[in-house]
Subunit: 242 residues, 2 copies
DNA sequence: TCGCCAAACTGGTCTATACCAGATGAGCGA
DNA sequence: TCGCTCATCTGGTATAGACCAGTTTGGCGA
């Protein structure tokens, strides 16, 4: 707050490094998905060490301005994807309409029994049969989320035989005449830990947004429960009501 | 993935420290709002240095399990507050109904002109008069958010004279007969930077959730635009549709 | 008894260095 | 030309210190 003898002012060094990099990004000198200079180079060019430089980079990462790709380097984050979790929607259509390129990979399809925590979320009974679908979704080649989807096989018989690399919503509508009617959405920011972090190719502890969604059909029958794990810098939630 | 000669396994040391602390929290050995041992003590008791210990603490912080109070120590995070941004609601009532104690402080009330970015969000014209209200809100004595509220003085004449330490929604309803009708909500995880970080008493770069809300009345007239800056570990968003 | 002050303690910032592990690319050999 | 190997690059993890700047607390003095 007060003036210091130190000509640099009282701002910590790592925040000054942060500011310089942020300015370069904002000025357009560093375009989206551009690689930053390596930590060693940045450290030397700012007259400091890697430890301090990494503090500055971690700040920018927390703000969602840059992201890291394991042992490959730091990159400038592209704009956030606008996402409305209350709508039935096709990820693919949504991404495409924003001028980006989507991709979906099905990681796993299994039939298991409802665990207690899931019973609590879905209203099903513990031990009921449930179809579990695990997918990873990318935007412009970067994985941005993994999701676990739990489908009610009573309402959706034979669902496990279909191709899940397309829009699930369209599948439900066309093959099972499901019009999703009510949704209960919960979400909070947290760090991504291991099965999810690994699937997204990021370090455990990377900031994320956890989104869950429970949907039922027009008759009030439970249809599906979603768990989505997003990288925190990749999305902006948008909801409209009434 | 493969077995190592190292008896500790291949997990990095800071993640093993993290796990030990997380287990103690989950086992209930460390209750909500309890202070953890100091970094120096933790470092010694785990046979490592402060740098590594701080990595472990930063992980737990990112997950929302612990939080820091500037130069006072690390504390166990209490449960997240459940919050529905689509509802007209009283913060005070909401917090109280979850068995917690709320507090609100009005930091600033000013009348200014609509800036371009705000015009873009509200639909007002650049240069129009607008009332700006800045508040800080606490739960159990911990500040959890700061908010900037922009109120339309055309729809709410004399609004700047009221007491803002109570529910704004009730004020609008009782004094101006406003029934908020439509809302457009946007939110994304990001780091809290300086005016907000300082108001909340946290370091710049602390993880947060940025929430904006635009409301109009039954006639479609713009009433208010909110910007809320939450600490990321303090809330869980819950939305219900149709 | 009360209030103030100083010591002790806390996290915050920073240097300097080391080695590990995955990603990459140049160049060699078939 | 194609495929593989290996040196070199990257970030990831870790040690061992140092000093700074707020917070807390215990004890002293009025």
């Amino acid at each position: 707050m007060e003036a210091r003898a130190n000509g640099e002012g009282s701002t910590p060094l790592y925040l000054r490094v942060r500011d310089q990099l942020a300015n370069q990004i904002e000025a357009g000198l560093l375009a989206a998905n551009t690689r930053l200079p390596s930590e060693r180079v940045l450290a030397e060019s700012h007259g400091t060490t890697r430890v301090t430089t990494r503090l500055a980079l971690a700040q920018l990462e927390a703000e969602g301005r840059i992201y890291r790709s394991n042992r490959r380097g730091w990159f400038v984050s592209p704009p956030r994807l606008v996402y409305n979790p209350t709508q039935d929607y096709s990820f693919s259509d949504n991404v495409t309409s924003q001028g980006r390129t989507p991709a979906t990979e099905t990681l796993e399809v299994t039939t298991t029994e409802v665990a207690p925590w899931l019973a609590n979320k879905t209203g099903l009974a513990v031990g009921d049969a449930i179809v579990r679908l695990r997918r990873r979704r990318q935007v412009d080649g970067r994985p941005v989320l993994v999701e676990n989807i739990y489908l009610n096989p009573k309402r959706l018989p034979g669902i496990e035989q279909y191709d899940f690399n397309r829009s699930l919503w369209k599948l439900l509508r066309e093959k099972f005449s499901v019009e999703l009617q009510g949704k209960r959405i919960e979400m909070f920011p947290t760090a991504l830990v291991d099965p999810q972090a690994e699937a997204l190719g990021v370090n455990a502890g990377t900031a994320g947004l956890y989104v869950t969604r429970r949907s039922h059909d027009a008759d009030g029958v439970f249809v599906e429960f979603d768990e989505e794990f997003w990288l925190h810098d990749t999305l902006s939630i948008q909801v409209e009501v009434q």
